[in-house]
Symmetry: C2
Subunit: 148 residues, 2 copies
């Protein structure tokens, strides 16, 4: 079982490795806004779970299993972003919501949300109808608020 | 700021009060699967935040502010359930996902998900198209898996 924090680390290390080819403690610390000492402790835990190793000269490296999980975390994050973006949520709120939600979404729910994004992408008339529906609800709500 | 655990307690106390008119430590403990001593500690914290009070003979009672929040938690939980149910997620998975997700969904996202449920409810042709789309994706995936 991975904790939410472990998932965040795997996602971040995967990201850094894709960007730079390696992940340094200092880079992980600054991008997750944590102390380097916390990174070192977490790396030990992930090492025990055989998800990362430490290579001389190269630094922290994901094992194949760690890379597979990191990729999954990154993909889940990206897909949840896409879903909320489709719903018209503000970027700032998207980032905050996704950071919390991502650790609690089962593969079944993730797959259904992804299907919903694909569906609206390929059936723009339904997305249009949905957006019109939202505008209408909003107008109704505002009229009601004015009446009060 | 409320912690996830505080939100769970407020939701549960609200539920018990609606059901029975009162919330006893033992009922809260058994329905949240925690020790009575944990409930007592949490009630103290919620009391400090003026969300619950202890009334002689009646037991734990939500303050008006606590009741408002408890109702909101309960509503958010119910609406997330409805959303995942609409996506065809299994009941067991729904319960697990909602218990985690609910604490991380912003009001903006909650409102958008709720609109989506209302939309599909009132535009069943779009829901039908979505369900057909999912079946098609599933068939494609199975055909691909067979080829491997
Ligand atoms: Mn993330
Ligand atoms: Mn709940």
């Amino acid at each position: 079982m991975l904790t939410s924090s472990m998932e965040d680390y795997l996602e971040k290390i995967y990201e850094l490795m894709k960007e730079k080819g390696y992940a340094r403690v200092s880079d992980i610390a600054s991008s997750l806004s944590v102390q380097p000492s916390s990174v070192t402790k977490m790396i030990q835990k992930l090492d025990e779970k055989q998800l990362v190793t430490y290579e001389k000269y190269r630094g922290i490296v994901l094992t194949p299993k760690g890379e597979q999980l990191g990729k999954l975390m990154k993909q889940r994050h990206k897909r949840l972003e896409e879903f909320l973006r489709m719903l018209g949520i503000r970027e700032e709120t998207i980032q905050k919501d996704v950071e919390g939600i991502e650790h609690h979404v089962s593969p079944a729910t993730m797959s259904a949300l992804n299907n919903l994004v694909l569906f609206f992408d390929q059936n723009s008339h339904c997305l249009q109808e949905f957006n019109d529906f939202c505008t209408e609800l909003q107008t109704l709500k505002e009229t009601e608020d004015e009446r009060k």
